[in-house]
Chain length 221, copies 3
């Protein structure tokens, strides 16, 4: 059982913080799309839990944790109420949200990778699922909100790459038999820091080579 | 085995009616989107079976019922032919379709909740999956048809809330050990009635508070 | 074990060719949508592996083959690099790509049907899953790229019907206890040939009857 990097209580608190922040980002998109309170709740739940549900279906951990842990289910509803009543205030602290979202990204790529390993997958699949745990909810959020996934847009700062690095570090730590609370936290911090630097300096991934100059400024979907 | 609320024969007939009506709604959207007969069949199948397939994947009931029961699979194809040849007539009886769709909503939220319970999930997860069984197919339909899910639009009458109430009643009935054909039908009727009232009086859910007046009439996605 | 139509080595080579070509089609769409290299990789992976992952989740073969076979995972990354550096050249050989894509379609509908049968599903479900294996990745690609699925557009040549015919042939061959390397290849060739003919002669499926003349030339989504 390597997925218990932290004590169960610490893990639960960290999970709930990550879920809450991801849910806020889903709820805020729902407000921008002019959805009602039910739509806010749906996007909050999907953003917070989607990545983990997909991971659990792939590794065969059914029912997924999101359907077994009451806290996982109710936390996005709390975020829904916060967004519903206080969304201008929530948007005003957008920098704080991005910081917490980066923390959630770091945490979920680490715990996702470790959980995939517990179910006997190989290192490459562990890394892929760790990254999917961290970014899958955001993709599901954008699909439901009828938008091109933010993850895929070239004009957004790197999001998946920090998660990939964090997941890769965990896979190496597992291989070295060195994954514990300290090293796991370190991997999450690396992913978190990379994401914050990407935001700060607007790091982007390159687009395909040889594009004609006329199309380079064009539509991004 | 609480999911056998009705006798197997009655259950099968009710399921097929619900599947047929949901398939009609999928097929009609395909016609509105100018899709060909194959697209009509795809949206009919997805609308009718999508919610149940998702529920079965989550609770670990694989292969999902939709892939084991020939009637579940062929009924949407019959609806496809009806829509293909008679879509103006089908659209003309739109009130009847909405009534049958509300009946399908009531039925599926009840049987979905009971099936989730059979697989050992807790009450909250039962309710969530009962609602997802009822509304999931419609969401999949809208995603494939490249539209903002009707479920999330603030300018549509309540759809998920009636399913939520029906699923909640079933969870309470299970907890009271009082779920049978009579009480199960009652829960389905409550969901059905709420949906019909929502349509009749155009009940909607509220949008987030504090919206500036300039944006309140704006785009809904 | 009927899914081993070919020897494991032959099967693996054929699978990797199909995956590579599907990944190219995903990568090219990503370039058209102006996505960055990460978006190219995501669409390449999803197009190549999406259909098989869905099939494996439905039949309960978890973790899906795509998460167990390193070659399945890395081949789309090779296609990503090819598209990234050489996309004008790749687009110039579009006819070759379509030919290879038709070959992938033929191959995947055959092996998908056989694998579903191995997991004890009935003939109808086998055929449905064989077709879904072949076309599912393309649907997932279009959903992520925020487009109406090419599969559903009436103005595109038949794509799913050739896969359906190939899958149906395999189901008959299994029923006759006559599925082997020769007959399986024949079924794949039939699907391949139908797809090439559909492209050559622009075969399309009919749209719903009785459409008013004013709307017949209209929007296709």
């Amino acid at each position: 059982m390597t997925s218990q990097i932290f004590t169960p209580d610490v893990q639960q608190v960290l999970d709930l913080i990550g879920i809450f922040v991801f849910a806020l980002s889903g709820g805020l998109l729902a407000v921008r799309k002019n959805l009602d309170i039910f739509g806010i709740a749906v996007l909050a739940e999907v953003t917070a839990l989607g990545g983990g549900v997909f991971r659990d279906l792939v590794i065969g951990a059914v029912p997924p944790a999101a359907f077994q842990n009451m806290g996982y289910f109710f936390t996005p509803l709390v975020a829904t109420l916060v967004v519903f009543f206080l969304h201008p205030e929530v948007q005003r602290i957008n920098g704080t949200i991005q910081l917490l979202d980066a923390a959630g990204l770091g945490l979920f790529c680490v715990t996702g990778t470790a959980k995939a390993h517990d179910y006997g997958l190989g290192s490459v699949a562990d890394i892929a699922l760790g990254m999917l745990t961290a970014v899958g909810g955001g993709v599901a959020r954008d699909l439901l909100a009828h938008e091109l996934p933010s993850l895929l847009r070239w004009d957004r700062a790197l999001y998946a790459v920090p998660a990939l690095v964090g997941a890769g570090m965990v896979a190496v730590l597992i291989w070295l038999n060195a994954l514990d609370g300290v090293t796991g936290t370190l991997a999450a911090l690396v992913a978190f820091t990379l994401r914050m630097l990407a935001l700060r300096y607007d790091w982007r991934a390159p687009r395909a080579w040889h594009r004609g100059s006329s199309s380079s400024g064009g539509e991004s979907g």
